[in-house]
Symmetry: C2
Subunit: 188 residues, 2 copies
């Protein structure tokens, strides 16, 4: 009779990241503690450090997971629908809901003061920016794609922040319309 189930390192890591992410979504960074995460996952207190080295390591891993789960894989799509997929994906119920955005904002608040998280952010953002820039450049416009991509990302982030702090003031359709209105002058 096994006293505990022994998972592969990969599976256990995934479980702990999921549980930690759910905590961040529900209660912000205050929920991100060894006790609460291990209790919610049903494992002992020592397991997080075994798999992630430190709480900062888990935080960085959670950030990467959130990025991967909520940003579309643009290069896999035909060039002409990438921008639309970005907008639809960013404001789809899976990404654009209070819980998920709560986790985003909670993580943003830690980036400046957590070196491991900071490095992970640099990595993820750089890849994300490159994808959006490529999606714009692929349309073959005269405009400079890079600053346009930066601005679009900033607008999306701002809209997400707004929805998180005040959901009824920024519904998904309004947010999509704002992005399209922003892009329209540049797309002719």
């Amino acid at each position: 009779m096994a006293r505990f189930t022994r998972l592969s390192s990969e599976d256990r890591r995934a479980q702990l990241m999921d549980v930690a992410l759910a905590g961040l979504a529900k209660g912000g960074i205050q929920e991100f503690t060894v006790d609460r995460i291990c209790a919610a996952a049903g494992v002992s207190r020592g397991l997080i450090l075994h798999h992630f080295g430190s709480m900062a390591g888990l935080l960085a891993a959670v950030y990467a997971r959130l990025y991967r789960d909520t940003t579309p894989d643009l290069p896999a799509l035909p060039p002409e629908i990438r921008l639309n997929a970005l907008i639809e994906g960013s404001f789809s119920p899976k990404s654009f809901n209070r819980d998920t955005l709560n986790a985003w904002v909670a993580l943003w608040g830690q980036i400046a003061n957590t070196p491991a998280l900071r490095e992970e952010h640099q990595r993820q953002y750089q890849a994300y920016l490159a994808q959006v820039t490529e999606a714009i450049a692929a349309l073959g416009l005269q405009a400079d794609a890079l600053p346009l991509a930066r601005s679009l990302i900033c607008l999306i982030d701002g809209l997400c922040l707004q929805h998180c702090l005040d959901p009824e003031a920024m519904p998904a359709e309004t947010a999509k319309a704002a992005c399209r209105a922003f892009l329209a002058p540049h797309l002719g």
Copy 2:
């Protein structure tokens, strides 16, 4: 020989808010503790609760102070220069620097999980939105001022977030240009 100086309630509150804000700017929400704030202010540990009731009360007061210190008083300006003043003010060195933005992002991360801060945010944002909407409406355009104001605020917030997380990737001039490019199509 006085063992301590006795300030008016107003002065002591202002001092504690300033010290707390400086801590948020320097080290994020981790610096927002009774011990650190009181030590930095040179007062005893009991004083914060005497003046603010709780740490959440101080947090809400700090948020209001940050809002007041970094947003321009638009109604006091002539209508035709208000939007420009908003952009210049939002990205002036006083507001658009890593420390100040670090405090903003740290506070955003707490809004969803701190009722007192949440209420303060609703108050401040509503007043801010009204001012920006009025600044747009005063120009007498055909466009609907309210959604435009919301989008502009989101863009500004997103640009601030970006600068906070990655300053060199989003200098002030780039941010201003993004705002002007956003507004241009609507201003004719």
